[in-house]
Symmetry: C2
Subunit: 421 residues, 2 copies
């Protein structure tokens, strides 16, 4: 017997029929003798409608009222799932964030969970009662108001609740059946990973693999909460119930500590992100302090800069700088740089949104040399020009022209031995 | 300056445009220096959708979960109205029942309010903050769960909150502009009443004039809370703001203590109810205890019996009984009576849903004789046969064939001098 937290997103609870399907997943775990807490999102479309009403009400809305409105969606789902569970003979009750309580800080709309009192829910596990919990929200205790965690926050709710309840695993049910070595739409030979390390998942998530919210993975990593991604559309009875101490995994992908991954690949996956734009500043002075004149104003305008390349100057006086920003922030970035032209004193400013960042990710890189060289060679062989490079301990990213995106991903997937049958 | 409670129903907050109109009503009161608490229902249609989902989830649903689901509708409206108010420069915050708290008993789905802590809201009045409160719901403290008051419960919420806040008046904004002497669709000469006594309103409300929920009027009567019915669709700026001690009334209808109604009419209004059905039991024994054999089983089956007429027996042995039940309960009542035939020992059972109850209502009746006689004469003159009669201190009701309903109402409206110009 184990404590299991199961989280279901909006498409998994989009209507009563799908909620009945969710109930069958819960029944499987309850029937196996597990203690179950279910975390639910709002029915698909609901949150968008609520957000639309809020925007229509006022462009400059109070974040606390926004939270009061949008938090209602999960409350509906939680009550409905509790009713469906009771209807098939499983004792259940719904819990809203303020009832548990799940305490948050005051950052309404993007609140962080500060504490969860799991005692009452745990004591009801003894009676076989399933807890159905509203995701995405908690209570800010100073003002006694509902605070939401931001879009996608239900993943974070689920992991935090799993930690508070000492769960065996936090199962995140989604519309995909796991984490793949790369996007299967680009590379049909992409394989589902049985396990992936927290650090790798963080790199995957922040690079556009939108299966798990980044914050939830960070939280899981800090507390060592094993988090599994699996499909809610799978036949509920086809999945093995969770067992205490279970280390093997037949469905989905478990995000876990790297120690649990016995034979780690050097590279676990290839990610790509199309939402970057490149900015190049030509002819700036090649002297100390020039970077500050460029990146200071951008930081002040809340523009995140990602990859930075400063070319070697040919004459020791003038040089060029290239960096990337989010494509949605490109216009703003250009405006800031034009405004700061007198301080930076550059000759020319140009930009392109026609770029893509491709990354190879793997904890095995730490102990293997030559991973980067292999990447550069493979790309050179296909005549793909590298515009910028960044690296971390477990990741190498290159910026290339968008037209080569698929070719690059496919090539690297093959080069690092990730192709399945 | 006064404390004002304003309640807006579902059609008055059906979309953002209407919510903006509500905000203008609130602004009028706030601009006049009044302290304002607004009580809102769910947007029209929302509660029906939520109830439908609950029914689809399970026919036998847990009332606590039903409450958790359906209470979400008012939470959305309260947040949206607070946002719209802030957008036009009026400090406002939304309050859910559990935040105030509004404490209820454990009768989920039909809970009664037991206590309201108005202290925090009152203290914020000093800063000019408008309180926007979810109607229809509170918190059941033992289990810390949301409890709803039943359909139409927002009127009761508003009156209870007005009492807790020592409000000058509880203004109920609806889609009609007040209480009329009778249904204007039947009698075009019907007049809007400027004032009506609580007792009269109770008789009007329970007789099918569905403007105010009966429980809210009872509550207002017990606590002497003046309650005004007025139209939310009136031009907000055309209405005079509330003033402390204001006794005159230019819009809507004030439901108040009869002492406040200086020149009470003998009859204030004519009500009719079409949802009654008549049951006649022929040839029952004319002896003590027979009524118990009839009405005992009906009471046990939760069937409310309204008008009862027992004919004089011609031979002292056998008699006939006539009574009315709600038309929706007729089939059930007949089944109960057929099941109890051996105990009651009647000759024949027949029924008709083709009847209507017409009532004349007025606190002035108490001090005027001959009101009933005038009614019977007027109906006789039109050859309208009376099937049953009931009377109370301030009401006389007759049961007649439905085909005479409009004629009877029109005749009585005229006879008692209620016709306007």
């Amino acid at each position: 017997m184990a404590v299991v937290v199961m989280k279901f997103g909006g498409t998994s609870v989009a209507n009563i029929e799908r909620i009945r399907n969710v109930a069958r997943h819960v029944k499987r775990e309850a029937d196996a003798g597990n203690s179950v807490a279910v975390v639910v999102s709002a029915m698909a479309g609901t949150t968008n409608q609520l957000v639309e009403w809020v925007r229509e009400a006022s462009a400059m809305h109070d974040a606390r009222e926004y939270d009061a409105v949008v938090a209602s969606g999960e409350q509906v789902t939680a009550g409905l799932l509790a009713i469906v569970l009771q209807g098939i003979g499983i004792p259940a009750r719904s819990w809203q964030g303020w009832q548990i309580p799940i305490s948050t800080n005051q950052a309404h709309g993007a609140a962080r969970i500060e504490a969860i009192d799991g005692s009452e829910i745990k004591s009801r596990f003894a009676d076989g009662e399933v807890a159905v919990i509203t995701g995405f929200q908690g209570r800010e205790p100073q003002r006694n108001r509902i605070a939401t965690l931001g879009r996608g926050g239900s993943d974070t709710s689920a992991v935090a609740i799993a930690i508070a309840l000492d769960a065996e695993v936090c199962d995140i049910y989604t519309d995909v059946d796991g984490i793949y070595t790369t996007d299967p739409r680009v590379v049909p030979k992409a394989r589902r990973l049985s396990k992936i390390a927290y650090e790798e998942m963080l790199e995957m998530a922040s690079l556009g693999s939108k299966v798990l919210q980044t914050r939830s993975v960070e939280l899981a990593m800090v507390h060592g909460m094993r988090t599994r991604v699996l499909s809610s559309f799978a036949e509920p009875e086809s999945i093995q119930p969770v067992r205490a101490g279970m280390k093997d995994n037949t469905v989905g992908t478990i995000v876990c500590d790297e120690d649990e991954i016995v034979e780690a690949q050097v590279v676990s996956g290839i990610a790509y992100a199309k939402d970057e734009a490149k900015v190049t500043i030509l002819g700036v002075a090649d002297k100390p302090g020039v970077a500050a004149t460029v990146f200071g104003p951008l930081a002040a305008a809340n523009i995140d800069v990602d990859m930075i390349v400063q070319n070697l100057s040919s004459d020791g006086k003038r040089t060029d700088m290239t960096f990337t920003v989010e494509a949605t922030q490109l216009d703003k970035a250009l405006a800031v740089l034009e405004g700061a032209r007198d301080d930076i004193r550059y000759r020319e400013l140009n930009s392109s949104a026609d770029v893509v960042k491709v990354s190879v990710i793997g904890i095995g890189m730490r102990s293997h040399a030559g991973v980067a060289a292999k990447m550069f060679e493979a790309l050179a062989e296909k005549s793909i020009n590298i515009l910028a490079i960044t690296t971390s301990e477990i990741k190498i990213s290159v910026l290339i022209h968008s037209e080569y995106a698929e070719l690059a991903v496919r090539t690297l997937h093959s080069v690092y031995g990730l192709d399945g049958d």
